[in-house]
Structures are given as C-alpha cells and as structure tokens.
Symmetry: C2
Subunit: 501 residues, 2 copies
C-alpha cells in the first residue's frame, strides 16, 4: 500500500480515537454523571474538542490529502482507499472552510440563545427570544456565504448531514408528500379512533426493559458490542464498532413509549454495528447521512416494529409478561392502538403519519426565513397558520408552537429537520427493495425472525459506512433516485386498512 | 498575578483535563463497557495517554517552570503559587528523568509478563513466570539508576507514590511494627475464635447497597459529587472535585464484604472531595501520597467502621434491614465477628491485624531481590519461610504464595506495597491527633454522627491536596514524624479487649 496512505490511516486513527472519547464523555454526562460534574465536564469536552479540531483542520492533513490526489485518481472510485481519501477530503474541506473565529462567535451566541430559550419557552415569551433567533438567522446566512458553490442558504447545513442533497432536491419531494398526507390525515380524522386506554396501565420498568432487549436481540442488535442505558433523551452513540450503545427512558404508565424508542435506537445501532470492520478508524466508519441513518431507525421502529406481522408474533409474548395489564386486549386491538393517528401540537409526540407534517412545516418555514420571505417577528403567525392548514389544529400559544423544539435556538437554521422525514421516505424505499429481493420477509417477521431483512440491510447498506453518499447509495440499492412512492404506498395501504378508508 | 504563572495554570488545566478524561475511559471500561469494546478502548487510552505524556514532558512546560523559579523563590513556601510550581516541577522531573524509550521497552515487557502470569498462576507454575520476573527486576534496577541521588534501588518507586519517604525511613518502622505484630497474632491464635456463621447468610444486594450508601452519606461522602457503581476490583476515581466516584462489588452470601469496601473507597473519595476547590486543575488537586490516601480509606473503613461505637449505632439499623438474617445476633457478637483475626494465605482477604504482616513480607522480599540478596529462583522458598515465621502458616503452593498478587508481574518491583501499611500506621497517628483535638469524637460516632471528625480531617488533611509532602503533612498535623506508636496502641487496646489478652 502507498506509504502516504498508511500515514493518512494512522492520522485518521488518532483523530477517530479522540472523537470517540468525546462520545464517551457525552454518554457518561447523559447517563451516570453526578450533578457536581457538570462544570468540569464542559471544560474537559472543550479541551478535547479543541485538540480534535486542531487535528481535523491541520495543514499536515490537508497536505497529505493533496499529495494523495494522484494515488486516489489511479484507483477505482469505490475502492476502499479512494473512498477514504475522497470522504476524508470532503470532511477536511467542511472543517476548514469556515473560519474558527466565526465559529467561536457563533458558539458564544448560541450558548446565550439556548439559555434564553430555556427561560422564554416556559414563560411563553416569544418576544424575549426573538432578537436571538434573528441573530441566529444572520449567522446562518453568513455561514452559507462560506459555500458560494451552493444555491440555497440552507444547503450548507443540509449537505453537511445529507451530502449530495439540497433544498432543490428535497423541496419537490416534500411538497408531493404533503399533497398526499394532508388529505390522508383529514380522512383518518373522520373515522372513529381506536381504544388506547390499556396502553397506559401500570407497566413495571424492569419488565419493559427485558422485553425491549429481547426484541432488539432478535432484530440483530449485538449486546456483546452494545448496551442500553437510561437518559432523558434517547440516543445512539458509537465508541467503536465493538461498542455501539443506545439509551432509552421508561414511563411506567406507558407500555409502548420506551419500547419504540428502544427499537428506534437499535436501528441506528445495528447500522453502526454493521459497518465493515476494515473501515474502523477511517472517515468511512460511520453511517453515511442523517437521512439514511434515520431510515434505519424508522424502518425497525415503524415499518417492522409497528407492523401487524410483528405483533402477531410478539403480542402473545408481551401479554405473557403483562398478563394482568393486557388481559382484555387482543392482538388486533393492540396493533390498532399503537398505530393511532391523531394530529397534535408536539412533534416528538406525533404518530407515524402526522410526524412528517410537523417536520415539513419546519423545513418550509426555515427556508422562508433564510430566503427573507418570512421575518422572524412573523414566525408565530406563519407557524400557526400552517398547523391549522396541514394538521387542522391551531396552537393556543407559542410555547407549544414555534418555540417547542430546541433546534433553532441551539444551532443554525436550515438542515436540522429534513433528515427526519428523509428517513421516513427512505425507510419505505429501502424496505420495498428488500421485499423485492426477499418476498418472504413479512412471513419471517411473523415468526419473530429477522435474519433475512437484517442480512439484506447489512449487505446493501450497513457495511458500506460512508463510502457512498446518500444519493449514490439509494441509486445503488433501489435502482432509482429518492422517491416518495414506496413510502406513500406503505402508509396508504397500512392506514387505509387500519381506518377502513 | 504573575503572567507566566497564569500561563502555567492554563497549561496545567489542559493537562488535568486530559488526565481526567483518561480516568473516565478507565472507569467506563471497568463498569459498563461491553466485551466488544476492549480493543478500541485500549487504543483510545493509548492515544490519549500519548497526548498527555507529550504535554507532561514538553520543553514548553520545563521552560515555564524554569522561568518561574525566581517568582517561586520570592513567595512563602506554603503559598498556593509556590506550591503549584514546586509540585509541578517535581512531577515534571519525574516524567522527564526516564527516557521514553526505556519506558516503551518496559511496557512491552510487562505486557507479556502479565499475560504469562495469568496463565502461570492458575497452573501453579512459578518456573514459567520466573524469567519474566527476573527481567522485571533488571528493569527495576535500571529504572533506579535514573535517580542516582537516591540510596536504595526501591526508592525511585517509593518516592514516586510517597514523596519524601525511602527504604531508610520505612524499614525501621516496619521492623518495629513486625516485632509487635507477630506476638500479638500469636497470642490471638491461642484464644477461641468468635462466631461468624451469620455473616454468610443470604443478604440481597439491593439492601446491602442502600445500607452502605446510607452510611457513607452520614460519613460525609457527597453523592451529588459522586456515585457508586459495581466493578470486579473496587476503586475510587476522580473526574473533577465535583465528580469523585467509587465502586464496589457485592456478594450476597456476605453482609460485610461490600460494606467495608464501600467504607474504604468512600474514605479515598472524601479525601478527594475535600481538597481546596481553588486547586482544581493544578498539580495540587489530588491526595498527597499513597500512604496518606490509604490512611483515609483505612481510617473510615477500620478505625471508625469496625469500632464498637460505630456498631452500637448502626447494628440496630442493619438488623432492621436484615431482621431474619440477624435475628439471633446482638451488637457484641456482630462486632466480634467483623473483627475476627485469623492468619491466612491471601493478602486481600486478610483482617486488620494480619494484613500488615502480608505487606511487610512483600516489602522485605522486594528489597532483598533489588539488593541482590535474594535470587528470583529462591523467592518461593523465602516467601514460604516468612509466612511460616510471621503468620504461622506455610503456603502449600506458589499459586497462593508468591504468585498471588499481580503487582510484581504487572509493574516494577519495590514501591507498590508499602503504601498499604503506611496507610494503617498513619490512620492510627492521624486518628490520635483528631482525638486529642476533639475527645468527644467516639461519643459522636456512637450517635452515628461524623461531622467533627470529618471536619477535622478536611481542615487538617484533605483541603491541602498535594501542597505538603507526606512527611511535612504528618509533622504539621501530629506534631511529630511518622511513628507506629498510636497505631500499635490502637490495635493492642482493641484486640486486647476483644480477645481478652
């Protein structure tokens, strides 16, 4: 192997080690750290973050990548070596394009903005946070200017987390999705809602935990290379391919909340556990984009985990764990309850169907603000109008309206939301491709078996890590570019049957 | 404040951050890391260790310390600034005195030695490990040669962990202690042993845990700035003054094992929690020596935790937690059981009295090997002879004889053991000083109150961190240099009464 390439691998191994250690610090902070540890932990994270940033932006790395250009060009595009250099260069350019001074000023601002938001939201005081949001918008536009090659002011952030995608490619898909979803939700609202009372009986935490772990082990999440802990906000984190952890939180008055969060995070976890071990310590050793990552969590949480086949197998098992709580419930009733569709104010509590409407409202409004078509002062009104037109409900106050999510108040505007709905769209598109290859998957699921599906995902998606961009991967796996059709067919079939539409 | 001094503080803050992060990695590895994480964690630890070592030995730091010499000399010896510079220089000299190349060769050797030991010990095969131990001895002597100013070949390691102490100062104390202990143990052996059967009934883990946490909170261990987790080998670790964690392990067939380990580690933890917060991020922000540290764990575990006063208060509470298991036991019986003295083969299982004999055997034999008075091949024989003469029992095999402890097989020889007995000696000397200042302490303990004792320790020992060396601190706190007298008086009084000697 090329001597310089060896040097690059060593460089990336050290960079990866440091970034994984940062993940350990964050995981510990979210799971077990006592309250007294906060101040020092922030400093430790900042110190290590600085060391990481220095390495990620060092001239030494830039020179290595430059010197390796001829080597890269001598190799096939999808060889491991060419891919490491290509993705490494993309990351390097991202890290060096924006002056450190700009990011320093932005982090300072956003720290204050977040503090203000934590006060303004409970006080339902949009005016208090407004000037900070305006400044965040200015920072976001200034940030976009470092990427003159991109068209839309949201593209800099979108392409960071979903490389190869832009407002121009996402917007038409989202618009089409919305055209289908709004009438679907409206039709569902005309139908009688399913019974859900039994979901909220008393379900002891330890039993919930055991059941969830049993399911994800069957999915293929490897507990020898992972574990689940408790946090306020569930997440998945990777310390190495041998140590990919997930977290969840339990509510004893809800049998499904923790379970679906576990299935969701296990989807992220299986993706990371399934990456080619040879990529460990290189820029390829992580999932390729926010959207593709979310497609895996959504696929295992919803497409599989909320399917009739899944519960045909698992409901009797759940009933065996909670015989008293579920004594008057059958599989069909349970299946309908966990798939109840109900427009609501809060994104994170939304069901599978309405969730996308929440996301697309945010995507559109962020773009309008960035395009100067919507002033921050008019955001609450625009927000409420969209909730009324898309979901048929009007937020009674900004607290649970445009101030509900932390994203715009603790980060730049544009880029953070679309990944959620891209994930849903892709979960449908990938699952359709898996079914085409293996039509027996649904009957496997009905037996509580997932080897074929997991194997197909590993073979076609997981193993590649970041080698392919999301658009390349989608084309490779499904033979076409991203399309909402399979996802809409999935939703219309499932909910058409559930609500007898 | 001096500009260069500010620079030094910033430098140390970053060094401290990195070393604390290394502690987080180690803690996670011992508590929660799944098996698959091992390989990557070793690499992450090595990467961060290398970054730490580079900072700890950088010319930049040496120059800063040199340039600050005049400033240091202009300040009182025990001013914070002079102390930071003084202790910082001591650490810097330690880190730079030994060539990195030598340490690299040593680490490579010791890795193999450890692997061989894990096989040789269960196989009871001393011959297999012998050549490695000989090489470790060579490395240890070579290491000593980097410190030509020290007299004895063990002094380099002893003074690292117990600065200001040497073989010459420790040997006479240990010899005197042994002269008292051997006949004391012999006399106890002539007496009938107390009943201990009830210690080994079934004690559920969760109840043991709650009881232990209740006690250490009363001690003054701050759970807002700490926590307890489970590990195979209990330890205490510090991520910051606001986050000092301890670990323990539970055996459900033993009511006292986990408890005393919790009390022990809480002693270490309270020391670290009690250091002056202004020292955070400087070389002063940790306990001053292995011996002084151990004096605090031993004081809270044994001098307080195994005292009659302690159990007068806590035994009724323990009995309330375990009413069935302890229904036929009274305070006196319980007190005698947890203070049973019985010569045994294994150091880590030894009681308060015989423990020191185990330690001193190792101290003496290590010195003899380093002095070339004892060949490695003759170690088993010498070991067994000392166990026979000091403890009255002869190891039937090397597995539980000279191969029982990992120390000589995973580190240099000389320096690792004496801290344990120094800690016991100092626990007696410090406790006597506390009693002289506050004669009411025993009756406070009888009420389950520890504020006066904890306050005195904090005021006199904890807060100073590493500002004073162990000998300086002992002199300052007790008005004399280290002496075995208070400790021997404590043992003779307590066990004389217990065994009616």
């Amino acid at each position: 192997m090329h001597e310089l390439y060896q040097q690059l691998l060593r460089y990336y191994q050290e960079m990866t080690d440091i970034s994984r250690v940062l993940s350990v610090l964050h995981w510990d902070q979210s799971t077990y750290m006592p309250p007294g540890g906060t101040a020092a932990r922030s400093r430790q994270t900042a110190t290590l973050g600085r060391i990481f940033h220095e390495k990620a932006t060092a001239d030494e790395l830039g020179k290595l990548l430059d010197d390796l250009k001829p080597y890269e060009e001598s190799l096939p595009y999808d060889s491991d070596e060419a891919s490491v250099i290509r993705v490494g260069r993309r990351n390097f350019e991202w890290a060096t394009k924006v002056p450190a001074d700009f990011m320093g000023r932005f982090y300072e601002h956003i720290g204050t903005s977040y503090q203000i938001w934590t006060q303004a939201r409970p006080a339902n005081d949009f005016e208090k946070i407004r000037p900070y949001l305006e400044k965040t918008l200015d920072f976001s536009r200034e940030h976009s200017a470092f990427y003159p090659e991109l068209d839309h002011p949201a593209d800099a952030r979108i392409s960071r987390w979903n490389y190869g995608m832009t407002v121009a490619t996402i917007q038409p898909l989202f618009a089409e999705l919305r055209r289908h979803l709004v009438p679907l939700v409206e039709a569902i609202r005309q139908q009688p809602p399913p019974r859900t009372d039994f979901l909220h009986r008393h379900y002891p935490e330890a039993d919930q935990e055991r059941f969830g772990l049993m399911v994800i082990e069957k999915y293929g999440y490897d507990l020898n290379r992972g574990r689940q802990d408790r946090t306020h906000h569930p997440f998945c984190t990777k310390f190495s391919i041998g140590d990919v952890r997930i977290t969840t939180r339990f509510r004893e008055d809800d049998v499904s909340d923790a379970l679906f969060s576990t299935l969701h995070e296990a989807g992220h976890g299986m993706y990371e556990q399934g990456i080619n071990p040879a990529y460990e310590g290189t820029p390829l050793d992580r999932g390729t984009s926010a959207g593709v990552h979310e497609s895996q969590s959504r696929l295992w949480e919803n497409v599989v985990g909320r399917s009739r086949e899944f519960w045909t197998h698992f409901f009797p098992k759940l009933k065996a764990v909670f015989p008293e709580q579920l004594h008057d419930v059958d599989t069909g009733q349970f299946y309908r309850a966990i798939n109840k569709v109900e427009p609501s104010l809060i994104r994170v509590d939304a069901d599978e169907v309405t969730y996308n409407l929440h996301v697309m409202i945010r995507f559109d409004l962020a773009n309008e603000m960035l395009e100067n078509k919507l002033a921050v002062k008019d955001l609450p009104e625009a927000w409420n109008a969209r909730y009324t037109s898309d979901l048929g409900i009007t937020p009674p106050h900004d607290k649970d309206g445009c101030m509900q999510d932390v994203h715009w108040f603790h980060g730049m505007i544009g880029g953070s939301f679309p990944g959620y709905t891209l994930g849903n769209i892709l979960s449908g598109q990938f699952f359709e491709a898996a079914l085409n290859a293996h039509p027996g998957i649904p009957s496997e699921i009905e037996k509580g078996q997932f080897e074929i599906l997991h194997g197909w995902l590993k073979e076609n998606i997981y193993q590649h890590g970041s080698k392919y961009t999301a658009p390349e991967l989608i084309e490779r796996v499904t033979g076409k570019s991203m399309t909402i059709e399979p996802y809409m067919t999935y939703l219309k079939t499932k909910y058409g049957e559930l609500y007898e539409l």
